[in-house]
Amino acid sequence: MALLQTIQQMGQGLLGAAWLPVWTVVKILVIVLPIMGTVAYLTLAERKILGWMQVRPGPNRVGPWGLLQPLADGIKLLLKEVIIPANSSKYLFLAAPVLALAPALAAWAVIPFDDGMALADVNAGLLYILAITSLGVYGIIIAGWASNSKYAFLGALRSLAQIVSYELAMGFALVCVLLAAQSMNMGDIVRGQQSQYGLLGWYFIPLFPMFVVYFIAGVAETNRAPFDLAEDESVIVAGFHTEYSGMGFALFFLAEYANMILISALTSVMFLGGWLSPVPFLPNSIIWLLVKMSFFLFLFLWFRATFPRYRYDQLMRLGWKVFIPLTLIWVAVVAAWMQTPLWLW
């Protein structure tokens, strides 16, 4: 901390008013670069874990235990030709992967990593998260339309209907969280879960149905198995990114994995007390947040290995007829519960 302050003072002395943007860019890099690294190694973890669950070793040729595999994949994708399909709208086709990745990274601006450790500690943080994550769908629909391909378009339409449906359930689940925390500031939401009983103070206990709904809806939002109907390879080739090759495909891949990490971080912050320690005798630290996130990321991979893909009407039924009524009822339950002395959080 003392070192950080010295750096701050030195920078201010050197650059004056221009120091603030420079320092902000440094902070952004400190957040984004580890996310990119995590994405790279999450792909390896996914292949390894899927392999072990299917009783096979997974990638183990590049580097020791296959540890350099993500690097090899990255270089391969970088060197591949970017093919632009005939009669596609070129600018939108090239803009779509960027539009998919940008919201997945921009949402990290308000995530608190530790007490007071967030890029932007804004009051409307939760609202910002909802707004930014709702923009991710543009990348997918623009990709589907601009590709001028049937499979891509079908994938985009599927993804669009799916994301719009599950966003409602996610939004209502978060309404319960902000009811409980009485704040939309992400830091305050975590601080509201602090108690002398450790993990008993976290919101996953009073909001347990919302916790489950939020994470499942998060899996659906990120188009992950068993809700990966947008790229349903047995039906529509590869869905919205059928026509993408090289870096275009890589950016979509990055966006999907960055979104997974984001959903894990959000679930940890909203329901599992972010940086808070589960037991009173251990100190709070960012390590707890990372442990909780790793658990949810593992769940993502576990789901993929064990569940068969949903049929489209089953997916819509789950979203509209199960999650949305459940969340609506739980909003009323929490609001009423909070008026009684039985509310302990």
Partner: protein, 211 residues
Amino acid sequence: MNFETLVFYLFAAMSVFAALRVITVRNPVYAALFLVLAFFSMAGIWLLLEAEFLAITLVLVYVGAVMVLFLFVVMMLDVDLVQLREGFWRWFPFGVVLAAIMVFEMVMVLGARQTSETGVHLAKHAADYSNTKELGRLVYTDYVYPFELAAVLLLVAIVAAIALTLRRRKDVKSQNVAQQIAARREDNVRMVQMPAEKKGSVAGNQESEKA
């Protein structure tokens, strides 16, 4: 010119440009995307006005939901651009008159002394001021009746829209999920006792079937 003014002019120029492109661009999908850009720049301007709740809600509701559905429809329509542009000159004078009336009305409203001189020099709020909290407090206390009335109106509109477009089909193949979940093994699986196969050739199998 300070930084805030610079940002304002940037967003203002972007929203005017995007709004113009919405009506001049040929492809309806591009038009919808330019409308998204216009909403986005307006949200930026609202943020400068310290109305962060309205700004983020604009992005959340209009950009995140309404425009997505617009795009959904526009992308699936097979719009004939030539047909769309037919009769442009025939209706042009009418459009000009309509636009002139609207501009006149806007000038009357925005240029009037009562509206143009109030609220120009609003004091800046401190960093801990929560626009969302203030808005919520006002909406649920001073303006609770108009607010509830608007909510009921919207609800009626939703019910009416669904009732108008809902058509019941008789031959639809939907599954009864409760019934599926309630199914037991005994309902669907019949265990058949069969004598064990004897070791041997295919002919041996046929013999055992006879027996």
